[in-house]
Symmetry: C2
Subunit: 346 residues, 2 copies
């Protein structure tokens, strides 16, 4: 398929571009009235995730609305625990909840994993196919999954938590158990991402949302090796973006895992990230989502400062997902500021 806009793919491959591409984490969502209108007709979040035609529709909404340079499939990282045998409930206000959790070796033995688990996510692959067909090369389509540590955190804790103390307790008290679970999540994730790529995902992002809950030694032991394995198995098929929120201390190790792109949260300054990642990996990010609460002039100023500091090999994004109460006009100012930017010839 001929891509009309391949800015993101080029940056991921290290090829020169005239301006950086821009997309936003959680760009398909409650900021858009067309999303809210569709969502109101449904029983809940999961119906949207599990209905390919509707998932495709909301995936494309931000491309139509703002002209962002990539679409990211509308889904959730928690489809993986579900495919492995732990179904989740999504309460809009309270976040995800797992009626059953993993605490023992027997719990792990009962899980489905690898290809048989990944094969249960047909609705995601179908959503990618429908989206890909409808996008018809307008912009690249991004697939995604949670990084194994973050998925373990939910499977063990059973819900969102400020500390994820139950999940972290497993790492300290039963490290062998944690590694066995991480292995199985990793195998499932690899099969899942390969299926996503076969179904039309041209880039995939790994979300390590709870990276920052681990100290450097634990992150190094329980997260990085699994991310590295995923990068190794997937990179030949599609570029991998690794977004490890709060893991500033592990940038060097993450760069060694050799993803195509490293995503940064808004705490991490671009200069430090460039140094730590050795300059050879594209960086993605990292405006504070709350900066979009500012007035348009201030948004232009903050976006311009960020662009100047990152320099080339940059995929513009926020440092975290878009918040639902941000104005869509302010998002437009952000996107248009990036699209009006031009790299100076060297």
């Amino acid at each position: 398929m001929k891509m009309q806009n391949d800015l993101l793919l080029k940056v991921a491959k290290g090829e020169p571009v005239s301006r950086p591409p821009v997309w936003l984490m959680r760009q398909a969502g409650r900021v858009l009235p067309q999303y809210r209108a569709l969502r109101e007709k449904l029983s809940g979040f999961k119906e949207l995730v599990e209905t390919p035609d509707l998932a495709a529709e909301v995936t494309i909404q931000p491309v139509d609305e703002w002209g962002v340079d990539a679409a990211i499939i509308f889904s959730d990282i928690l489809v993986i625990p579900e495919a492995m045998g732990l179904s989740y409930e999504m309460a809009e206000a309270k976040g995800p909840y797992f009626p059953a959790t993993i605490r023992t070796a027997a719990d792990i033995e009962r899980l489905i994993f690898g290809e048989p688990a990944a094969d249960r996510l047909e609705y995601v692959y179908e959503a990618l196919k429908v989206t890909s067909r409808r996008l018809d090369g307008r912009v690249p389509l991004i697939g995604f999954a949670g990084a194994p540590w973050t998925i373990l955190a939910y499977m063990v804790e059973g819900k969102g938590s400020k500390t994820f103390g139950i999940a972290k307790k497993m790492l300290y008290a039963e490290p062998a158990l944690a590694h066995r679970l991480l292995e199985r999540i990793t195998e499932t994730t690899i099969a899942y991402l390969k299926n996503q790529i076969r179904s039309g995902a041209q880039v995939v992002q790994l979300f390590d949302s709870w990276a920052g809950l681990l100290g450097p030694a634990q992150y190094s032991a329980f997260s990085v090796p699994y991310i590295e394995r995923i990068c190794r198995e997937i990179s030949a098929d599609a570029p991998v973006i690794v977004f490890a929120k709060g893991a500033w201390f592990a940038l060097r190790e993450l760069a060694a895992a050799d993803p195509a792109v490293i995503g940064l949260d808004w705490n991490t300054d671009p200069e430090t990230a460039r140094t730590e990642t050795g300059g050879r990996i594209a960086l993605q990010g990292n405006l504070d989502p709350c900066a979009l609460y500012a007035d348009p002039d201030e948004i232009r100023k903050l976006t311009g400062e960020m662009l100047a500091r990152f320099g080339s090999r940059h995929i513009v994004n926020l440092g975290h997902g878009l918040y639902p109460d941000i104005s869509r006009e302010n998002v437009r100012v952000f996107v248009e500021t990036v699209k009006a930017f031009e790299y100076q010839p060297v």
Copy 2:
């Protein structure tokens, strides 16, 4: 008063000691059955905070139980908003809640601040006096307050939050308003800490619990200057410990604010912290609280590694508060490992 154990005071002043002192954030609390027994007889958390005799009792419990090298007064950072006119409710499971919040200039104008606000916290000063008398020089007594940004976050948001989006929105959308509120919180905090010191606090700690929610530029604008002012006004009276959770990116600036001690969360490795703070400030921390879920041998190993990496000018602590479900025997192993340690003669 003659101090029998002045290890913490010596380290804060840069004097040599034979081993590092050890205490734990949130050491007085639900880990201890004697705390739970007392707490069950009361109407709630606030009754304990506001009854000097009982606050003194739970303050001393960890000194009796584990022989830690410091007591920290049992209180809450949210007494400051309350003294300024915003009372809080504390639901054990859900955390703090403010029925009224600050959103406008008029809301700020209505606040009491400075000495008149600080003077409303007589129950804290009385708790310090009672504790100091009962401790009778066994170990130093630590007073504390929230850093101004963290207090603003609660006063504007009105409750705990994953993103504190409403509070951060004020920084981006109405920075002048935010600064006016920060000024008033700072003036109140300075008066409050001076009163605490007069009442027996020998060291004070500033908790910037939500530091990590701000990016470097915002932290530099909205938190550091106020911390700096507090350090400048207080340091002549007592050493100041600054614990800015998640603010690894600001260590250099925090060191320039010239506190006696900088507290570190468990994400920050001691070597980086030593370099960033220029080697001339004592460091406090930073074992992951979840490490105390491990078995005793592993706790000894992890504690030993931490001790070796910090070297001298170290106050041993956790990288965050003790979690309520950690075993008190494991805390004992941690404390005893530190107390058995000896610095090698140089």
